[in-house]
């Protein structure tokens, strides 16, 4: 399966522009293997032909499918655990105290993938915020149509629900369908999933109706972007947060952007970011 240098450069530039995802030459193998199912599905003979078809219609379904195929949607319920401990013991108590009981709490899962992150936030809220089902609203956004469709369906495999999720939460908040588990309507009503591109200037337009946000999860996605793009993404997010709001990145990801805007808060040796 050959690909000329020119076509590789084109696809890599297209992906950068469309998604912020950096695909350098050392990732060429990844690009090839991720495109194989698309070549079969769209009956395309070669990577060069794929590149040419994308070029001819950068907003068409094939171009979207190429971007979707390059996203890594791996995720887990209660991934890394500490963000949820921080919500329960630090962030929720602080917000409930400062806002007073009854006021809406807006949360954004900014690379929501298949929805596990948003659901884990909702489950944590149900355990630690009074009247969470009425007060807490969670927006999940992602660029991947496939991941969004999965999140909207809210149906998880036996394998997925057994990693990270306590069984007591599973039996209480999910309904069994064969060997799968569907998130219950009460929890589902707290969640909304929408398509949004973190590297687009139109981001605010999509999320603003659901904000401003008290808490933003931006986890395990900055790693795919250039350093400059990471800064721009952080600044776009900050523009949609309340003063004093919390940003939770991946354990090794840093809130770049305008550094002076963020106060670093240490929780269990991990860094959280508070908007000044």
């Amino acid at each position: 399966m050959s690909m000329t240098d020119r076509e590789f450069k084109y696809l890599s530039a297209f992906l950068l522009k469309a998604s912020g995802i950096v695909v350098n030459e050392d990732k060429m193998y990844l690009l090839r293997s991720r495109m194989q199912p698309l070549l079969r599905k769209y009956k395309i003979a070669s990577m060069d032909e794929l590149a040419q078809q994308v070029r001819s219609n950068e907003r068409g379904p094939l171009a979207h499918a190429v971007v979707d195929a390059m996203t890594t949607n791996e995720t887990l319920f209660f991934r890394d655990q500490y963000p949820y401990d921080a919500l329960k013991t630090l962030i929720f108590p602080e917000i409930v105290h400062s806002k007073g009981v009854g006021k809406r709490i807006n949360i954004w899962s900014a690379a929501s993938s298949r929805g596990q992150e948003g659901i884990s936030i909702a489950l944590t809220a149900m355990e630690s915020v009074p009247q969470a089902d009425r007060r807490v609203r969670i927006l999940g956004t992602d660029l991947s149509d496939e991941a969004l469709a999965y999140a909207n369906e809210g149906l998880y495999t036996q394998m997925e629900v057994q990693r990270g999720m306590p069984v007591k939460l599973l039996v209480r908040f999910f309904n069994q369908e064969g060997t799968n588990w569907r998130v219950c309507p009460e929890l589902k009503a707290m969640l909304t999933f929408k398509k949004a591109n973190l590297v687009s200037d139109q981001l605010s337009g999509v999320v603003r109706p659901h904000g401003p946000f008290d808490i933003v999860f931006l986890r395990n996605v900055l790693i795919y972007f250039t350093v400059d793009e990471r800064k721009r993404v952080i600044d776009r997010i900050a523009a949609n947060m309340v003063k004093g709001g919390y940003l939770i990145t991946g354990a090794t990801e840093v809130a770049q952007g305008v550094r002076s805007k963020w106060e670093m808060v240490t929780f269990k040796n991990k860094r959280l970011w508070k908007l000044k």
């Binding site: 036996q158 057994q162 990693r163 990270g164 306590p166 069984v167 007591k168 039996v171 069994q176 060997t179």
Partner: protein
């Protein structure tokens, strides 16, 4: 730290036992609930029981009820059901009888580690 692996299928005792050793436990075995009770009498310091449901002689559920009824153990050890009984009704029944976690077979190491961490049980690296 001791882990008691209870299953009538040898292959499960071996694979689950291997995982428990890898994460730092001394592994005890039993092939049914009656043997498991004997192991608990001989090893009251057992930290966790990995418990199958369907077994001859005494099944896992009856063992669990018996174990939780014995005052000398209090709420120790932690009990993780590891079973093909995956109906919601069975799960609720085991939880009500004092099971702490539940693994629906098939299992893998990540799943076992995840459940151990949820229960605050020690997990050694490697």
């Amino acid at each position: 730290m001791k882990a008691l692996v209870v299953d009538d299928a040898k292959v499960v005792r071996v694979t689950l036992g291997r995982i428990m050793k890898q994460i730092g436990y001394e592994v005890l075995e039993a092939a049914d609930g009656a043997q498991a009770l004997e192991q608990m009498e001989a090893n009251p310091d057992t930290a966790v029981v990995m418990l199958d449901w369907n077994m001859p002689v005494m099944n896992g559920y009856d063992f669990l009820v018996e174990l939780r009824g014995r005052p000398e153990h209090g709420s120790d050890p932690k009990v993780i059901m590891v079973t093909t009984e995956t109906g919601m009704g069975q799960m609720l029944k085991a939880l009500a009888a004092g099971a702490d976690e539940y693994i629906m077979k098939p299992f893998d190491k990540d799943m076992v580690v995840s459940k151990m961490e949820i229960l605050g049980l020690e997990v050694a690296e490697g």
